[in-house]
Symmetry: C2
Subunit: 199 residues, 2 copies
């Protein structure tokens, strides 16, 4: 005996595939969605498809955007001589929320991980090196996570950049070891920025 009708079960199944949504939450969300006004459900569905269709990576920093260049790269008030390298757009958002970093970013979309078979060519590293050739960059701040992969990626990038003479720094270990930038409070993030050391 099925607990739910086929379409309800299909919706619950789809929702439970999302990260952080367990069986109970999927059930609760499904009932909520079915009880919403039709236009709300259609708008939610359309927004998803629209975002998926239109969002691509910024031509300059590789973060996700629906324009050719992201709002940060397009802003005349940002300092283009500093690039902060982060693993993903959520980490960019975390630093952006501090409201104190004025430079640009570069989003790698991952970190080097031999264990997971992710090599230097699998992340947006080539794009970073191209920027260093064409843009007038004075400092690259490496803000990958302080996990094993993040540290390895930081070392790899610093060794790659050093010969160019551009200053390379790493955010300070104010960030707890094993911590994910996304979940760290702004004060700690700022402390880590201020205490960055040259590599």
């Amino acid at each position: 005996m099925n607990l739910y009708s086929d379409r309800m079960q299909a919706l619950i199944d789809e929702l439970s595939r999302l990260p952080g949504i367990g069986a109970k939450s999927a059930q609760r969300l499904a009932f909520h969605i079915v009880n919403l006004p039709s236009e709300d459900v259609r708008r939610l569905a359309d927004t998803m498809v629209e975002a998926k269709t239109k969002i691509r990576t910024c031509r300059r920093c590789c973060t996700l955007t629906d324009q050719e260049y992201c709002p940060i790269c397009s802003s005349p008030s940002r300092d283009p001589s500093t690039i902060m390298v982060v693993e993903n757009p959520r980490d960019l958002a975390a630093y952006e929320k501090t409201g104190r970093y004025e430079g640009l970013y570069h989003v790698l979309h991952g970190a080097i991980s031999p264990a997971l078979g992710i090599g230097p060519s699998d992340i947006r590293l080539k794009e970073l090196m191209q920027r260093l050739q064409t843009e007038d960059v004075k400092e690259v701040i490496i803000a990958t996570n302080s996990s094993l992969e993040g540290e390895a990626t930081a070392m790899y990038i610093s060794r790659l950049i050093k010969p160019t003479g551009i200053r390379v720094s790493r955010i300070a270990s104010g960030v707890p070891v094993g911590g994910d930038l996304e979940y760290i409070d702004e004060v700690t993030l700022l402390r880590a920025l201020e205490g960055r050391v040259e590599l």
Copy 2:
């Protein structure tokens, strides 16, 4: 400065409207959705709209279904002489998962709450009374929540049914199985004492 492009922000906003999805989860879900293959996003969106469009209430028990009658009401193996009255389809699912209840259900879609302005005519009570006139029902088990509203609803329904001569019962309230007395509220402890059964 916006942290995200417009379409990303729109998606995050839509997702944060869902129950139990905070700002952080909405962000995480949005990035996940944008990184999914296009066909997965479209399937998720379509499933939502499809469920919303096709799901309605069962003509007999008022639970949510995509057919005229729900799987339980359509099943020849269920005992139609017993009706369990629950507040919503999730409560029905909870009892159904026990796998031990063999009767039918009636879903009220709410509980009487003068504080929230929800009266007897705002829940599916008329439909229940109509069933009692046309179906051969021997017992109505009231399984509304043991909240203030649930109890008031139970009292109201029992007074309504009593004159018909049909047996009305209420699920027991007491200490949950495996519950530690030390952590259980006094009202529940008293209820459990009052409802004690001879061994």
